[in-house]
Amino acid sequence: MLRITNLHKTFNPGTINANTALDGVDLHLNDGDFASVIGGNGAGKSTLLNAIAGVWKPDCGTIEIDGVDVTQMPEYRRAKYLGRVFQDPMMGTAPDMEIAENLAIAARRGTRRRFVWGVRREERIRYKALLATLELGLEDRLSHKVGLLSGGQRQAVTLLMATLNRPKLLLLDEHTASLDPKTALKVLELTDQIVQQNKLTTLMITHNMKEAIAHGNRLIMMHGGRIIVDVSGDEKKNLTVKQLLDLFTQASNGAISDRMVLG
Protein backbone atom coordinates (compact mmCIF):
# COMPACT_ATOMS: atom_id res chain seq x y z
CA MET A 1 0.00 0.00 0.00
CA LEU A 2 2.87 2.32 0.88
CA ARG A 3 6.29 1.89 -0.64
CA ILE A 4 9.11 4.25 0.29
CA THR A 5 12.45 3.81 -1.41
CA ASN A 6 15.74 5.37 -0.33
CA LEU A 7 14.21 8.59 1.03
CA HIS A 8 16.62 11.40 1.92
CA LYS A 9 15.94 14.84 3.36
CA THR A 10 18.39 17.40 4.70
CA PHE A 11 17.12 20.69 6.09
CA ASN A 12 19.23 23.83 5.53
CA PRO A 13 21.72 22.00 3.31
CA GLY A 14 25.14 23.58 2.96
CA THR A 15 24.80 25.71 6.08
CA ILE A 16 26.06 25.33 9.60
CA ASN A 17 22.52 24.32 10.57
CA ALA A 18 22.38 21.49 8.05
CA ASN A 19 20.33 18.70 9.56
CA THR A 20 19.94 15.32 7.95
CA ALA A 21 16.47 14.30 9.02
CA LEU A 22 16.01 11.32 6.72
CA ASP A 23 19.04 9.29 5.73
CA GLY A 24 17.88 6.61 3.33
CA VAL A 25 14.55 5.32 4.56
CA ASP A 26 13.11 2.20 2.94
CA LEU A 27 9.67 1.16 4.11
CA HIS A 28 6.98 -1.08 2.72
CA LEU A 29 3.56 -1.25 4.34
CA ASN A 30 1.18 -4.01 3.24
CA ASP A 31 -2.52 -3.43 2.86
CA GLY A 32 -4.03 -3.42 6.35
CA ASP A 33 -0.74 -2.96 8.21
CA PHE A 34 -0.95 -0.89 11.39
CA ALA A 35 2.60 0.21 12.17
CA SER A 36 3.57 2.20 15.22
CA VAL A 37 6.71 4.28 14.88
CA ILE A 38 8.94 5.10 17.84
CA GLY A 39 12.26 6.84 18.22
CA GLY A 40 13.92 9.63 20.16
CA ASN A 41 13.69 13.33 19.40
CA GLY A 42 15.15 14.11 16.02
CA ALA A 43 14.99 10.50 14.87
CA GLY A 44 13.07 11.55 11.77
CA LYS A 45 9.61 10.20 12.65
CA SER A 46 7.63 13.37 11.96
CA THR A 47 9.86 14.19 8.99
CA LEU A 48 8.94 10.84 7.49
CA LEU A 49 5.22 11.42 8.01
CA ASN A 50 5.44 14.94 6.58
CA ALA A 51 7.30 13.62 3.56
CA ILE A 52 4.53 11.11 2.93
CA ALA A 53 1.91 13.85 3.38
CA GLY A 54 3.75 16.15 0.99
CA VAL A 55 4.45 19.05 3.36
CA TRP A 56 7.72 19.38 1.42
CA LYS A 57 9.54 17.39 -1.21
CA PRO A 58 12.34 14.96 -0.36
CA ASP A 59 15.88 15.47 -1.70
CA CYS A 60 15.82 12.05 -3.32
CA GLY A 61 13.94 8.80 -3.15
CA THR A 62 10.38 7.92 -4.06
CA ILE A 63 7.07 7.54 -2.26
CA GLU A 64 4.38 5.34 -3.75
CA ILE A 65 0.87 5.01 -2.38
CA ASP A 66 -1.11 2.08 -3.78
CA GLY A 67 1.11 1.97 -6.84
CA VAL A 68 0.90 5.71 -7.56
CA ASP A 69 4.14 7.67 -7.38
CA VAL A 70 3.21 10.73 -5.28
CA THR A 71 6.75 12.02 -4.71
CA GLN A 72 6.19 15.18 -6.76
CA MET A 73 2.48 15.59 -6.07
CA PRO A 74 1.48 18.72 -4.11
CA GLU A 75 0.11 18.25 -0.61
CA TYR A 76 -3.51 19.12 -1.42
CA ARG A 77 -3.61 16.70 -4.33
CA ARG A 78 -2.23 13.66 -2.55
CA ALA A 79 -4.61 14.39 0.33
CA LYS A 80 -7.16 12.22 -1.45
CA TYR A 81 -5.12 9.12 -0.52
CA LEU A 82 -4.42 10.21 3.04
CA GLY A 83 -6.14 10.70 6.36
CA ARG A 84 -4.11 12.81 8.78
CA VAL A 85 -4.32 13.54 12.49
CA PHE A 86 -1.79 15.92 14.01
CA GLN A 87 -0.15 16.23 17.41
CA ASP A 88 -1.70 19.65 17.98
CA PRO A 89 -5.49 19.26 18.34
CA MET A 90 -5.88 22.78 16.91
CA MET A 91 -4.30 21.83 13.60
CA GLY A 92 -6.79 19.33 12.26
CA THR A 93 -10.04 21.28 12.44
CA ALA A 94 -11.34 24.72 11.45
CA PRO A 95 -12.37 26.32 14.78
CA ASP A 96 -14.71 28.97 13.42
CA MET A 97 -16.74 26.48 11.43
CA GLU A 98 -19.46 24.07 12.52
CA ILE A 99 -18.70 20.43 13.30
CA ALA A 100 -20.93 19.45 10.37
CA GLU A 101 -19.08 21.84 8.02
CA ASN A 102 -15.71 20.44 9.07
CA LEU A 103 -16.95 16.90 8.41
CA ALA A 104 -18.48 17.94 5.08
CA ILE A 105 -15.19 19.44 3.89
CA ALA A 106 -13.43 16.21 4.87
CA ALA A 107 -16.10 14.07 3.20
CA ARG A 108 -15.24 15.79 -0.10
CA ARG A 109 -11.51 15.21 0.18
CA GLY A 110 -10.25 14.21 -3.24
CA THR A 111 -13.32 15.45 -5.11
CA ARG A 112 -13.78 18.62 -7.10
CA ARG A 113 -15.51 21.28 -4.97
CA ARG A 114 -18.61 22.41 -6.78
CA PHE A 115 -21.12 25.22 -6.48
CA VAL A 116 -23.73 23.01 -4.87
CA TRP A 117 -24.96 22.94 -1.29
CA GLY A 118 -21.97 22.16 0.93
CA VAL A 119 -23.69 20.18 3.71
CA ARG A 120 -26.72 18.19 2.59
CA ARG A 121 -29.47 17.05 4.93
CA GLU A 122 -28.82 13.34 4.54
CA GLU A 123 -25.17 14.01 5.35
CA ARG A 124 -26.17 15.56 8.67
CA ILE A 125 -28.00 12.36 9.56
CA ARG A 126 -24.92 10.31 8.70
CA TYR A 127 -22.61 12.61 10.69
CA LYS A 128 -24.92 12.47 13.66
CA ALA A 129 -24.75 8.67 13.69
CA LEU A 130 -20.96 8.71 13.30
CA LEU A 131 -20.48 11.27 16.06
CA ALA A 132 -22.64 9.13 18.34
CA THR A 133 -20.12 6.28 17.97
CA LEU A 134 -17.48 8.54 19.57
CA GLU A 135 -19.58 8.61 22.76
CA LEU A 136 -18.52 12.16 23.52
CA GLY A 137 -21.98 13.70 23.34
CA LEU A 138 -21.16 15.48 20.08
CA GLU A 139 -24.10 14.04 18.11
CA ASP A 140 -26.37 16.85 19.29
CA ARG A 141 -23.83 19.57 18.58
CA LEU A 142 -23.56 19.34 14.79
CA SER A 143 -24.02 23.07 14.30
CA HIS A 144 -21.70 24.08 17.13
CA LYS A 145 -18.39 25.66 16.21
CA VAL A 146 -15.45 23.29 16.60
CA GLY A 147 -13.58 25.98 18.54
CA LEU A 148 -15.96 25.34 21.45
CA LEU A 149 -14.77 21.76 21.84
CA SER A 150 -12.02 20.47 24.14
CA GLY A 151 -8.71 19.23 22.76
CA GLY A 152 -9.76 15.58 23.09
CA GLN A 153 -13.08 16.20 21.38
CA ARG A 154 -11.36 18.06 18.56
CA GLN A 155 -8.89 15.22 18.14
CA ALA A 156 -11.74 12.71 17.98
CA VAL A 157 -13.50 14.84 15.33
CA THR A 158 -10.23 15.08 13.38
CA LEU A 159 -9.92 11.31 13.51
CA LEU A 160 -13.43 11.00 12.15
CA MET A 161 -12.63 13.54 9.41
CA ALA A 162 -9.48 11.65 8.47
CA THR A 163 -11.37 8.40 8.02
CA LEU A 164 -14.72 9.64 6.67
CA ASN A 165 -13.59 8.93 3.12
CA ARG A 166 -11.73 5.67 3.55
CA PRO A 167 -8.09 6.79 3.12
CA LYS A 168 -5.55 4.47 1.54
CA LEU A 169 -3.22 5.41 4.37
CA LEU A 170 -3.92 6.90 7.80
CA LEU A 171 -1.13 9.06 9.24
CA LEU A 172 -1.22 9.69 12.99
CA ASP A 173 1.48 12.08 14.20
CA GLU A 174 1.58 11.59 17.98
CA HIS A 175 -2.09 12.38 17.97
CA THR A 176 -2.57 11.68 21.68
CA ALA A 177 0.62 13.34 22.95
CA SER A 178 -0.96 16.64 23.98
CA LEU A 179 -4.02 15.13 25.64
CA ASP A 180 -4.46 14.25 29.30
CA PRO A 181 -3.93 10.51 30.05
CA LYS A 182 -7.62 9.65 30.28
CA THR A 183 -8.54 11.44 27.07
CA ALA A 184 -5.48 10.02 25.33
CA LEU A 185 -6.67 6.53 26.21
CA LYS A 186 -10.13 7.27 24.86
CA VAL A 187 -8.76 8.64 21.58
CA LEU A 188 -6.47 5.62 21.23
CA GLU A 189 -9.41 3.26 21.76
CA LEU A 190 -11.32 5.14 19.09
CA THR A 191 -8.33 4.89 16.79
CA ASP A 192 -8.16 1.11 17.22
CA GLN A 193 -11.89 0.82 16.68
CA ILE A 194 -11.93 2.92 13.50
CA VAL A 195 -8.80 1.32 12.07
CA GLN A 196 -10.15 -2.19 12.63
CA GLN A 197 -13.63 -1.45 11.34
CA ASN A 198 -12.33 0.05 8.10
CA LYS A 199 -9.25 -2.19 7.86
CA LEU A 200 -7.10 0.89 7.37
CA THR A 201 -3.39 0.86 6.59
CA THR A 202 -1.98 3.03 9.35
CA LEU A 203 1.26 4.68 10.35
CA MET A 204 1.19 5.96 13.94
CA ILE A 205 4.00 7.90 15.62
CA THR A 206 4.13 7.64 19.37
CA HIS A 207 6.56 8.46 22.15
CA ASN A 208 5.10 5.83 24.40
CA MET A 209 6.68 2.37 24.12
CA LYS A 210 3.80 0.61 25.82
CA GLU A 211 1.43 2.20 23.33
CA ALA A 212 3.65 1.15 20.47
CA ILE A 213 3.63 -2.44 21.70
CA ALA A 214 -0.09 -2.52 22.47
CA HIS A 215 -1.29 -1.09 19.15
CA GLY A 216 -0.82 -2.31 15.64
CA ASN A 217 0.72 -5.39 14.07
CA ARG A 218 4.09 -3.81 13.33
CA LEU A 219 6.61 -1.76 15.23
CA ILE A 220 9.16 0.46 13.58
CA MET A 221 11.97 2.17 15.43
CA MET A 222 13.84 5.09 13.93
CA HIS A 223 17.15 6.61 14.83
CA GLY A 224 19.29 9.19 13.04
CA GLY A 225 16.99 9.34 10.05
CA ARG A 226 16.97 5.59 9.47
CA ILE A 227 14.73 2.69 10.36
CA ILE A 228 16.75 0.56 12.77
CA VAL A 229 14.14 -1.92 13.97
CA ASP A 230 11.15 -3.32 12.10
CA VAL A 231 9.31 -6.15 13.82
CA SER A 232 5.90 -7.63 13.16
CA GLY A 233 3.63 -10.57 13.95
CA ASP A 234 4.23 -12.67 17.06
CA GLU A 235 7.68 -11.23 17.59
CA LYS A 236 6.10 -7.79 17.95
CA LYS A 237 3.22 -9.04 20.07
CA ASN A 238 5.54 -10.56 22.66
CA LEU A 239 7.83 -7.54 22.96
CA THR A 240 8.36 -5.90 26.33
CA VAL A 241 9.49 -2.36 27.04
CA LYS A 242 12.72 -3.79 28.42
CA GLN A 243 13.44 -5.71 25.21
CA LEU A 244 12.59 -2.66 23.18
CA LEU A 245 15.05 -0.54 25.13
CA ASP A 246 17.73 -3.20 24.66
CA LEU A 247 16.99 -3.31 20.95
CA PHE A 248 17.31 0.42 20.80
CA THR A 249 20.60 0.50 22.71
CA GLN A 250 21.98 -2.24 20.50
CA ALA A 251 20.93 -0.65 17.24
CA SER A 252 21.91 2.88 18.12
CA ASN A 253 25.20 2.07 19.88
CA GLY A 254 24.05 3.19 23.28
CA ALA A 255 22.78 6.62 22.40
CA ILE A 256 19.55 6.77 24.33
CA SER A 257 17.31 9.72 24.75
CA ASP A 258 15.67 10.67 28.02
CA ARG A 259 12.31 11.00 26.42
CA MET A 260 12.42 7.40 25.21
CA VAL A 261 13.10 6.16 28.72
CA LEU A 262 10.34 8.23 30.22
CA GLY A 263 7.94 6.99 27.60
Binding site: A53, P74, E75, Y76, R77, A79, K80, L82, R84, F86, M90, M91, G92, T93, A94, P95, D96, M97, E101, N102, A104, I105, A106, R108, R109, G110, T111, R113, R114, F115, V116, W117, G118, V119, L148, L149, S150, G152, Q153, M161
Partner: protein, 309 residues
Protein backbone atom coordinates in the same frame (compact mmCIF):
# COMPACT_ATOMS: atom_id res chain seq x y z
CA UNK B 1 -31.29 70.80 12.60
CA UNK B 2 -28.32 70.85 10.27
CA UNK B 3 -27.48 67.41 11.61
CA UNK B 4 -30.96 66.08 10.75
CA UNK B 5 -30.60 67.52 7.26
CA UNK B 6 -27.27 65.82 6.81
CA UNK B 7 -28.62 62.45 7.98
CA UNK B 8 -29.98 61.08 4.66
CA UNK B 9 -26.68 61.87 2.95
CA UNK B 10 -24.75 60.21 5.77
CA UNK B 11 -26.89 57.08 5.54
CA UNK B 12 -26.57 56.98 1.73
CA UNK B 13 -22.79 57.34 1.78
CA UNK B 14 -22.56 54.99 4.76
CA UNK B 15 -24.39 52.30 2.77
CA UNK B 16 -21.91 52.65 -0.10
CA UNK B 17 -18.96 52.33 2.28
CA UNK B 18 -20.77 49.53 4.09
CA UNK B 19 -20.78 47.59 0.82
CA UNK B 20 -17.06 48.25 0.67
CA UNK B 21 -16.80 47.01 4.27
CA UNK B 22 -18.33 43.70 3.16
CA UNK B 23 -15.53 43.35 0.61
CA UNK B 24 -12.89 44.08 3.25
CA UNK B 25 -14.60 41.64 5.64
CA UNK B 26 -14.08 38.84 3.12
CA UNK B 27 -10.34 39.35 3.00
CA UNK B 28 -9.65 40.56 6.54
CA UNK B 29 -11.96 38.28 8.50
CA UNK B 30 -12.83 35.30 6.33
CA UNK B 31 -9.53 34.82 4.51
CA UNK B 32 -7.48 36.19 7.40
CA UNK B 33 -5.55 38.30 4.87
CA UNK B 34 -4.81 41.97 5.56
CA UNK B 35 -5.31 43.09 1.98
CA UNK B 36 -4.18 46.64 1.23
CA UNK B 37 -5.14 46.34 -2.44
CA UNK B 38 -8.50 47.90 -1.63
CA UNK B 39 -7.13 51.46 -1.48
CA UNK B 40 -6.39 51.02 -5.17
CA UNK B 41 -9.21 48.75 -6.28
CA UNK B 42 -11.95 51.05 -4.95
CA UNK B 43 -10.55 53.80 -7.22
CA UNK B 44 -10.25 51.34 -10.11
CA UNK B 45 -13.97 50.63 -9.73
CA UNK B 46 -14.73 54.34 -9.68
CA UNK B 47 -12.50 55.08 -12.71
CA UNK B 48 -13.86 52.26 -14.86
CA UNK B 49 -17.43 53.27 -14.09
CA UNK B 50 -16.85 56.99 -14.69
CA UNK B 51 -14.94 56.52 -17.94
CA UNK B 52 -17.45 54.04 -19.31
CA UNK B 53 -20.34 56.35 -18.44
CA UNK B 54 -18.55 59.21 -20.14
CA UNK B 55 -18.10 56.93 -23.15
CA UNK B 56 -21.83 56.40 -23.35
CA UNK B 57 -22.08 52.86 -21.96
CA UNK B 58 -25.20 51.98 -19.95
CA UNK B 59 -24.79 52.28 -16.19
CA UNK B 60 -25.38 48.59 -15.38
CA UNK B 61 -22.63 47.53 -17.78
CA UNK B 62 -20.26 50.08 -16.26
CA UNK B 63 -20.96 48.75 -12.78
CA UNK B 64 -20.40 45.13 -13.82
CA UNK B 65 -17.16 46.10 -15.59
CA UNK B 66 -16.02 47.87 -12.41
CA UNK B 67 -16.63 44.67 -10.44
CA UNK B 68 -14.49 42.64 -12.82
CA UNK B 69 -11.73 45.25 -12.93
CA UNK B 70 -11.54 45.06 -9.12
CA UNK B 71 -11.45 41.26 -9.27
CA UNK B 72 -8.44 41.38 -11.55
CA UNK B 73 -6.66 43.59 -9.01
CA UNK B 74 -7.43 41.09 -6.24
CA UNK B 75 -6.29 38.29 -8.51
CA UNK B 76 -2.93 40.02 -9.01
CA UNK B 77 -2.40 40.45 -5.27
CA UNK B 78 -3.33 36.82 -4.70
CA UNK B 79 -0.93 35.68 -7.41
CA UNK B 80 1.92 37.80 -6.00
CA UNK B 81 1.38 36.18 -2.63
CA UNK B 82 0.68 32.55 -3.56
CA UNK B 83 2.70 32.05 -6.74
CA UNK B 84 5.64 34.37 -6.03
CA UNK B 85 5.84 34.24 -2.25
CA UNK B 86 5.47 37.99 -1.64
CA UNK B 87 4.34 38.58 1.97
CA UNK B 88 0.64 39.46 2.11
CA UNK B 89 0.92 43.08 3.25
CA UNK B 90 3.60 43.80 0.66
CA UNK B 91 1.65 42.03 -2.10
CA UNK B 92 -1.28 44.37 -1.37
CA UNK B 93 0.95 47.45 -1.31
CA UNK B 94 2.61 46.51 -4.60
CA UNK B 95 -0.72 46.02 -6.36
CA UNK B 96 -2.01 49.22 -4.83
CA UNK B 97 0.93 51.12 -6.28
CA UNK B 98 0.49 49.45 -9.67
CA UNK B 99 -3.15 50.44 -9.58
CA UNK B 100 -2.28 54.11 -9.15
CA UNK B 101 -0.69 54.03 -12.61
CA UNK B 102 -3.45 51.85 -13.99
CA UNK B 103 -6.12 54.17 -12.63
CA UNK B 104 -4.38 57.22 -14.11
CA UNK B 105 -4.27 55.42 -17.45
CA UNK B 106 -7.99 54.60 -17.22
CA UNK B 107 -8.72 58.25 -16.50
CA UNK B 108 -6.63 59.19 -19.56
CA UNK B 109 -3.91 60.89 -17.53
CA UNK B 110 -6.31 63.21 -15.73
CA UNK B 111 -6.71 63.10 -11.98
CA UNK B 112 -10.47 63.49 -12.17
CA UNK B 113 -13.26 62.50 -14.54
CA UNK B 114 -16.69 63.95 -13.92
CA UNK B 115 -19.96 62.14 -14.43
CA UNK B 116 -22.87 64.28 -15.56
CA UNK B 117 -26.06 63.12 -13.82
CA UNK B 118 -28.18 64.94 -16.43
CA UNK B 119 -26.61 63.07 -19.33
CA UNK B 120 -26.19 59.67 -17.71
CA UNK B 121 -28.99 57.72 -16.13
CA UNK B 122 -27.27 56.99 -12.80
CA UNK B 123 -28.26 54.41 -10.21
CA UNK B 124 -27.37 56.71 -7.33
CA UNK B 125 -26.53 60.39 -6.91
CA UNK B 126 -26.11 62.78 -4.03
CA UNK B 127 -28.93 64.97 -5.38
CA UNK B 128 -31.37 62.17 -4.67
CA UNK B 129 -30.58 60.60 -1.30
CA UNK B 130 -33.84 58.64 -0.83
CA UNK B 131 -33.29 56.92 -4.18
CA UNK B 132 -29.65 56.27 -3.30
CA UNK B 133 -30.66 54.69 -0.01
CA UNK B 134 -33.22 52.40 -1.66
CA UNK B 135 -30.88 51.36 -4.47
CA UNK B 136 -28.02 50.74 -2.06
CA UNK B 137 -30.25 48.73 0.29
CA UNK B 138 -31.15 46.50 -2.67
CA UNK B 139 -27.48 46.17 -3.69
CA UNK B 140 -26.35 45.41 -0.15
CA UNK B 141 -29.16 42.91 0.44
CA UNK B 142 -28.44 41.14 -2.86
CA UNK B 143 -24.72 41.00 -2.04
CA UNK B 144 -25.33 39.60 1.46
CA UNK B 145 -27.79 36.97 0.22
CA UNK B 146 -25.51 36.03 -2.66
CA UNK B 147 -22.48 35.67 -0.39
CA UNK B 148 -24.50 33.82 2.23
CA UNK B 149 -25.56 31.24 -0.34
CA UNK B 150 -22.07 31.11 -1.84
CA UNK B 151 -20.38 30.39 1.48
CA UNK B 152 -22.66 27.42 2.02
CA UNK B 153 -21.60 25.75 -1.23
CA UNK B 154 -18.87 23.12 -1.34
CA UNK B 155 -16.51 25.64 -2.86
CA UNK B 156 -17.53 28.46 -0.54
CA UNK B 157 -16.85 26.28 2.51
CA UNK B 158 -13.29 25.70 1.34
CA UNK B 159 -12.69 29.47 1.08
CA UNK B 160 -13.89 29.84 4.66
CA UNK B 161 -11.76 26.93 5.86
CA UNK B 162 -8.70 28.35 4.09
CA UNK B 163 -8.90 31.49 6.21
CA UNK B 164 -9.81 29.57 9.33
CA UNK B 165 -7.16 26.84 9.17
CA UNK B 166 -5.05 26.51 6.02
CA UNK B 167 -3.30 23.47 7.45
CA UNK B 168 -6.55 21.57 7.91
CA UNK B 169 -7.67 22.71 4.47
CA UNK B 170 -4.60 21.33 2.74
CA UNK B 171 -4.92 18.06 4.65
CA UNK B 172 -8.49 17.81 3.37
CA UNK B 173 -7.41 18.32 -0.22
CA UNK B 174 -8.17 22.02 -0.59
CA UNK B 175 -5.92 23.94 -2.98
CA UNK B 176 -5.48 26.85 -0.58
CA UNK B 177 -3.56 28.94 -3.11
CA UNK B 178 -6.50 28.82 -5.46
CA UNK B 179 -9.08 29.57 -2.79
CA UNK B 180 -7.00 32.48 -1.54
CA UNK B 181 -6.61 34.00 -5.01
CA UNK B 182 -10.30 33.61 -5.83
CA UNK B 183 -11.32 34.90 -2.40
CA UNK B 184 -9.22 38.04 -2.92
CA UNK B 185 -10.67 38.49 -6.40
CA UNK B 186 -14.20 38.33 -5.00
CA UNK B 187 -13.32 40.70 -2.15
CA UNK B 188 -11.80 43.31 -4.45
CA UNK B 189 -14.61 42.93 -6.94
CA UNK B 190 -17.08 43.97 -4.25
CA UNK B 191 -14.79 46.83 -3.20
CA UNK B 192 -14.61 48.06 -6.81
CA UNK B 193 -18.38 47.76 -7.07
CA UNK B 194 -18.73 50.11 -4.11
CA UNK B 195 -16.18 52.39 -5.83
CA UNK B 196 -18.43 52.49 -8.91
CA UNK B 197 -21.39 53.45 -6.74
CA UNK B 198 -19.30 56.08 -4.95
CA UNK B 199 -18.25 57.67 -8.25
CA UNK B 200 -21.88 57.91 -9.33
CA UNK B 201 -22.93 59.29 -5.97
CA UNK B 202 -20.26 61.99 -5.94
CA UNK B 203 -20.51 62.61 -9.68
CA UNK B 204 -16.82 62.00 -10.30
CA UNK B 205 -13.93 59.59 -10.07
CA UNK B 206 -10.86 61.04 -8.40
CA UNK B 207 -7.45 59.38 -8.45
CA UNK B 208 -6.97 60.18 -4.75
CA UNK B 209 -10.34 58.95 -3.49
CA UNK B 210 -8.99 55.66 -2.24
CA UNK B 211 -6.45 56.92 0.24
CA UNK B 212 -7.22 55.27 3.57
CA UNK B 213 -10.21 53.38 2.19
CA UNK B 214 -9.07 50.20 3.96
CA UNK B 215 -9.19 52.07 7.25
CA UNK B 216 -12.80 53.13 6.67
CA UNK B 217 -13.66 49.55 5.73
CA UNK B 218 -12.01 48.26 8.90
CA UNK B 219 -13.77 50.93 10.97
CA UNK B 220 -17.10 49.74 9.54
CA UNK B 221 -16.17 46.15 10.41
CA UNK B 222 -15.09 46.89 13.98
CA UNK B 223 -18.00 49.18 14.76
CA UNK B 224 -20.44 46.71 13.24
CA UNK B 225 -19.06 43.55 14.78
CA UNK B 226 -18.82 45.12 18.24
CA UNK B 227 -22.63 45.07 18.19
CA UNK B 228 -23.54 42.20 15.87
CA UNK B 229 -21.33 39.59 17.57
CA UNK B 230 -23.25 40.23 20.78
CA UNK B 231 -26.56 39.59 18.99
CA UNK B 232 -25.68 36.46 17.03
CA UNK B 233 -22.28 35.49 15.70
CA UNK B 234 -23.33 34.27 12.27
CA UNK B 235 -22.48 35.41 8.77
CA UNK B 236 -25.64 37.32 7.82
CA UNK B 237 -25.86 39.21 11.13
CA UNK B 238 -22.16 40.07 10.84
CA UNK B 239 -22.68 41.38 7.29
CA UNK B 240 -25.62 43.50 8.37
CA UNK B 241 -23.45 44.69 11.26
CA UNK B 242 -20.65 45.73 8.89
CA UNK B 243 -23.06 47.74 6.72
CA UNK B 244 -24.55 49.26 9.87
CA UNK B 245 -20.99 50.07 10.96
CA UNK B 246 -20.45 51.97 7.70
CA UNK B 247 -23.59 54.00 8.32
CA UNK B 248 -22.64 54.75 11.93
CA UNK B 249 -19.19 55.80 10.73
CA UNK B 250 -20.65 58.32 8.27
CA UNK B 251 -23.13 59.66 10.79
CA UNK B 252 -20.27 60.28 13.23
CA UNK B 253 -18.21 61.73 10.37
CA UNK B 254 -20.95 64.21 9.50
CA UNK B 255 -21.49 65.02 13.13
CA UNK B 256 -17.88 65.97 13.78
CA UNK B 257 -17.83 68.09 10.63
CA UNK B 258 -20.88 69.95 11.93
CA UNK B 259 -19.09 70.39 15.24
CA UNK B 260 -16.51 72.33 13.26
CA UNK B 261 -13.68 69.84 12.87
CA UNK B 262 -11.60 70.68 9.81
CA UNK B 263 -11.96 68.02 7.13
CA UNK B 264 -8.16 67.86 7.01
CA UNK B 265 -8.22 65.97 10.30
CA UNK B 266 -10.78 63.34 9.30
CA UNK B 267 -8.22 60.78 8.20
CA UNK B 268 -6.65 61.08 11.64
CA UNK B 269 -10.07 60.45 13.16
CA UNK B 270 -10.64 57.33 11.01
CA UNK B 271 -7.26 55.93 11.96
CA UNK B 272 -7.86 56.60 15.67
CA UNK B 273 -11.25 54.86 15.55
CA UNK B 274 -9.65 51.73 14.08
CA UNK B 275 -6.67 51.90 16.46
CA UNK B 276 -9.01 52.13 19.45
CA UNK B 277 -11.10 49.18 18.30
CA UNK B 278 -7.95 47.10 17.86
CA UNK B 279 -6.40 48.26 21.14
CA UNK B 280 -9.35 47.76 23.47
CA UNK B 281 -9.64 43.96 23.20
CA UNK B 282 -5.85 43.65 23.46
CA UNK B 283 -5.58 45.85 26.52
CA UNK B 284 -8.50 44.07 28.13
CA UNK B 285 -6.78 40.75 27.65
CA UNK B 286 -3.37 41.97 28.77
CA UNK B 287 -4.28 44.02 31.82
CA UNK B 288 -7.65 43.01 33.12
CA UNK B 289 -7.78 39.22 33.14
CA UNK B 290 -4.60 38.22 34.94
CA UNK B 291 -5.96 38.15 38.44
CA UNK B 292 -9.50 37.19 39.11
CA UNK B 293 -11.14 37.83 42.44
CA UNK B 294 -12.02 34.78 44.47
CA UNK B 295 -15.76 34.12 44.56
CA UNK B 296 -17.42 34.48 47.93
CA UNK B 297 -17.31 30.76 48.73
CA UNK B 298 -13.55 30.94 48.57
CA UNK B 299 -13.05 28.41 45.77
CA UNK B 300 -10.65 29.65 43.13
CA UNK B 301 -12.41 29.27 39.82
CA UNK B 302 -9.12 29.15 37.99
CA UNK B 303 -8.28 25.72 39.32
CA UNK B 304 -9.76 22.88 37.32
CA UNK B 305 -11.19 25.00 34.56
CA UNK B 306 -13.04 22.07 33.03
CA UNK B 307 -12.56 20.35 29.76
CA UNK B 308 -12.21 23.55 27.79
CA UNK B 309 -9.42 24.89 29.97
Amino acid sequence: MAFINALPGAVAEGLIWGLMGIGVYLSYKLLNFADLTVDGSIVTGACVCAVMLAGGFPVWLSVIAAFFAGSVAGFVTGLLHTAFGVPEILAGILTQLMLYSVNLAILGGKSLVAINPRVNNLLVHMSNNPRTIIVMLIFVAATIIGLWLFFYTEFGLTIKSTGDNPNMSRAQGVNVKLTQVLGLALSNGIVALSGAMLAQYKGSANINDGRGAIVIGLAAIFIGLSVSLKIKPNFVVSMIGVVGGGIVYYIVYNFVILLGLKTDYLKMLSAIIVAVFLAVPYLKKEHFTRQRKLPSNGINTRIGGGENA
